[in-house]
Symmetry: D2
Subunit: 342 residues, 4 copies
Amino acid sequence: MAVRAAVAGASGYAGGEVLRMLLGHPEVEIGAVTGHSNAGQRLGSLQPHLLPLADREVAPTSAEVLAGHDVVFLALPHGQSAAVAEELGPDVLVVDCGADFRLRDAADWEAFYGSPHAGSWPYGLPELPGARAALQGTRRIAVPGCYPTAVSLALFPAYTARLAEPEAVIVAASGTSGAGKSAKPHLLGSEVMGSMSPYGVGGGHRHTPEMIQSLSAVAGERVGVSFTPTLAPMPRGILATCTAKARPGVDAAAVRDAYEKAFADEPFVTLLPEGQWPATAAVYGANTAQIQVTLDPAAGRIIAICAIDNLAKGTAGGAVQSMNLALGLPETTGLPLVGVAP
Amino acid sequence: MAVRAAVAGASGYAGGEVLRMLLGHPEVEIGAVTGHSNAGQRLGSLQPHLLPLADREVAPTSAEVLAGHDVVFLALPHGQSAAVAEELGPDVLVVDCGADFRLRDAADWEAFYGSPHAGSWPYGLPELPGARAALQGTRRIAVPGCYPTAVSLALFPAYTARLAEPEAVIVAASGTSGAGKSAKPHLLGSEVMGSMSPYGVGGGHRHTPEMIQSLSAVAGERVGVSFTPTLAPMPRGILATCTAKARPGVDAAAVRDAYEKAFADEPFVTLLPEGQWPATAAVYGANTAQIQVTLDPAAGRIIAICAIDNLAKGTAGGAVQSMNLALGLPETTGLPLVGVAP
Amino acid sequence: MAVRAAVAGASGYAGGEVLRMLLGHPEVEIGAVTGHSNAGQRLGSLQPHLLPLADREVAPTSAEVLAGHDVVFLALPHGQSAAVAEELGPDVLVVDCGADFRLRDAADWEAFYGSPHAGSWPYGLPELPGARAALQGTRRIAVPGCYPTAVSLALFPAYTARLAEPEAVIVAASGTSGAGKSAKPHLLGSEVMGSMSPYGVGGGHRHTPEMIQSLSAVAGERVGVSFTPTLAPMPRGILATCTAKARPGVDAAAVRDAYEKAFADEPFVTLLPEGQWPATAAVYGANTAQIQVTLDPAAGRIIAICAIDNLAKGTAGGAVQSMNLALGLPETTGLPLVGVAP
Amino acid sequence: MAVRAAVAGASGYAGGEVLRMLLGHPEVEIGAVTGHSNAGQRLGSLQPHLLPLADREVAPTSAEVLAGHDVVFLALPHGQSAAVAEELGPDVLVVDCGADFRLRDAADWEAFYGSPHAGSWPYGLPELPGARAALQGTRRIAVPGCYPTAVSLALFPAYTARLAEPEAVIVAASGTSGAGKSAKPHLLGSEVMGSMSPYGVGGGHRHTPEMIQSLSAVAGERVGVSFTPTLAPMPRGILATCTAKARPGVDAAAVRDAYEKAFADEPFVTLLPEGQWPATAAVYGANTAQIQVTLDPAAGRIIAICAIDNLAKGTAGGAVQSMNLALGLPETTGLPLVGVAP
């Protein structure tokens, strides 16, 4: 019997990508698709790439509309997920693509989001040590931020294997869809094409505490993070360049070995052969991550680079992967392994 | 029992896209992947987005390697398909993504390609009147050119319904993958980003006689074509703007009606609701075409616009769609209906 | 003594480009820079590329602020120029980058703009026959639309030399800056990168009557125009593909000859050597137009293609060129002949 | 009397940009333009944006052709500059845009370039402490690499003011023109559009020792550098994100103060107002650098970000700026302060 899924926030980029993933999922039947300002419109005019759903009408986001589904994906603005989840009841699987339930520390949440902490849910990055167990059978999932997905995948093997000092320096480039679909002047095509620019510099980006949380958990000590995100002239994709000082005595073979072990059995994460480096084009549209790592002997630093599609593995693909685990389906069910390139 | 398929020219853009389509096809098992200058290399280094094939080695293109498959896709330079097809024998389904067998008129072939005519095979654009019948059960398929796919879909209803004068004026923009993967200075990213430029202007593009052939066949009279292709700063996609003078007495309702009838039952071609226009982003990676048509009352012209993905519906998707027909499989088997956007 | 110039609408793309041009003009001193919603802001935060003006504050657009300048450039929304011009008085040179005074026919204006006709001013496309005489000494200039600039340059020689039938079919691609700086969802970088799409199809684009006006004037008869604009994934540039049926007996030599004569003495318009085609990259940032023309013998059509920078020759450069004529300065003073490429 | 300048390597990106800069220089007359494989061609077909030089023929690069100029710009492959310079004699100003004379340490040169060290010339980054004095009157200039230009500008104030620990972590994104004009598959538009990818990771990029040299010189001690370059989908521009641990006791005010002092009198380098961050679009085509700096209090790191145009300030603009100093001209003569945006 099919899993019946609803998507709240279906007209945005995250919601559209969840629908794209669900359309490829053999066990899922798409129920309600809801929105706020776009309620009443034909989905085909808002998401013209989702051909099989073109004639669906966007319903208003409400408890009535979302009731009666096995899974509800929330792609809502920050702060709205708790109320919706409560109304849906404990038996419905609620997958929150927003930030509300990612951080375990209330002080972190308040410092970065400026509102009361709603709590924390199992974290939907199955590749992290211990994450799968927490996701199996859960009815609440906090989908990670796109940057923390890329960064955590790139760096956790260095910390689980105790190869790196607990201070990471990270610079990541993201496609513009990461900034969402609301029209803001600095996100106009005229502004972003041909331009690279940083934002949220100096520790202020809201994904920073999430990275610290995940890396500290695997390291067993607090890992400091200097994180600089940049906006790149492409619609999708994150390339995260993550570096940390190697602990004394660590050599290239140890680094390679730790990363090979970490990803040997992962269906969606590839440690590339030595000499080949990730490119975001290779993961375009796929629920995959490509990783490469090296040790810079002169600088004494480990450099791990991860490419993901911010909307796919970075949001909607990761969400569906976690849903599979929660529902007891094979983890890879319905998820694209193949990117669209060139 | 699975259909076993080989792909010759697997390291290029067309070959890579055929592989991407076949990876999503539930009835196909991918056999040999072959190349010329890249023989011996790991496919993962040439097509890093094709994750499940990463460890395959590119074999040399030869009759031995290609033997023993049910279907062989040829993505080879012009002039090489006939010899390969002959060696494969009449029982193997040969799907030629090149131009060799597209034109029925030997004089046209020689005028535009400058070499002896190899003949013509059933034309792999199932949506054209009569095409499906010719494709069912065939063992030879000539996959249309990418521009003729977009242009024929956009204009054939105007000619079958006798709405348009037999002179079409077409301007189309193509993404750069249409020019292939060989490194030429004018195709460098530095040259194409931020720039639009025409090429093959004045009737010289090799896809022109192919458009004339298809449109004339449906019109029952020779249709003249003025075709101007342009190179657009994007990796994929064709937007074909196709216009023709309306015959006397033709009104907007007749145009709309003809197009609605033409595409009512087509699984891959969408006539958009009035007021919505195609965008190449909406068909990115999908085997779909989006079409809109209008009548400009002041200019007295029908304007039909079609967006396709040049590599998907324009090449590899169309090839697999035709393969399905040839093999007696449901026509839509394994083909993506959903684009990757934004 | 320097010409003192004000720019109203300085925070938009047209206004910013006028300022860029004026910064390179040896006879101009930049006075007031005004805006509406951005009044009070530092220009450096709105137009960070205009380094020498970074510390200027945007003043509110008002008669007081604009008074006391020799030239006032208006880059305002439609319908606002007449009132401003009246307040400035007849001795001030008013250069209107908007549409208000482009059309001579009131019925055309009302049909396409839906508001009362304000009148018409000398048309700022000096290369058109008779245009320079009308611009010399004038105190009012209507800067042409960007598409009509490209199209008129591409086609007028065919009509002055009576080579073409009076029905033109035009498809043009424009960079996104042509759509302005107000934030609309379909202009987001995420939407436009990687995508081509048409708009205003079927005769509805407001630049259509302007093309008809200019081409009909040089042809001495009404020239019908089928015009389809498309949005291309680049910030700047227009590539206009303009075709018209050749009159009986017209041959390639006659076409070449007419175009060579038309542009022989033009400082900003280049007829490229035969075989070389325009690219928008080659005119990026320059007040230049590149044109190529050919006769398609099979289709019997003249195909003239013009590349301009929509903001430079298509708006601000053309505006300053016309200002030079109005003020009795050498026409080329201060205008860039060199593009920025790659 | 005009300075007569020749450009060797005129058909490449660096050579083309030198010509663009020289065309705007009021004291320079452009003499010979030379090339290797393109000798004999019309410059208009190779560099169609350089309109005033369109009819120049590319001469072969030889001592005879380059003789008789006051200045010779070399934009040649590595290893060819020494021989040319020697033939030109000591009185000709030779400006080498290549790497041959950038490194003072022969061992560094040999380790990174694998050929014998040719020596070192005054380093053409006038903003570095002491650099102007070395450039005044010189007849030999080594133009810095594009990445070292951005990185040195971003970080030297932190080291002159002893604010930062001597270990810098740098991630930079570059437009594709930095990779030159030779056609390589990974630089095709199809490959780079929509994709970010790293290269030269782990300390291997040849610009690394150049950064170490400059930063160590101002720091008075060896500064280690971890440098990761990435290729961004844009034709021009470098965004360098440069971080280093703050020394104990350093606060935000001290950082701001040091950067304000460092750039207070620089005509081409702007420290942006607090809260505004650099974007490569703002320096497109200009000989300018935009810099912002902050202290991340949680991570304890100084983060300095610099945007330049790799071809302008990063190569040709810096070259002409240094030429001005060498010839005793005002340093800013003929150099663009205004970028082309959007």
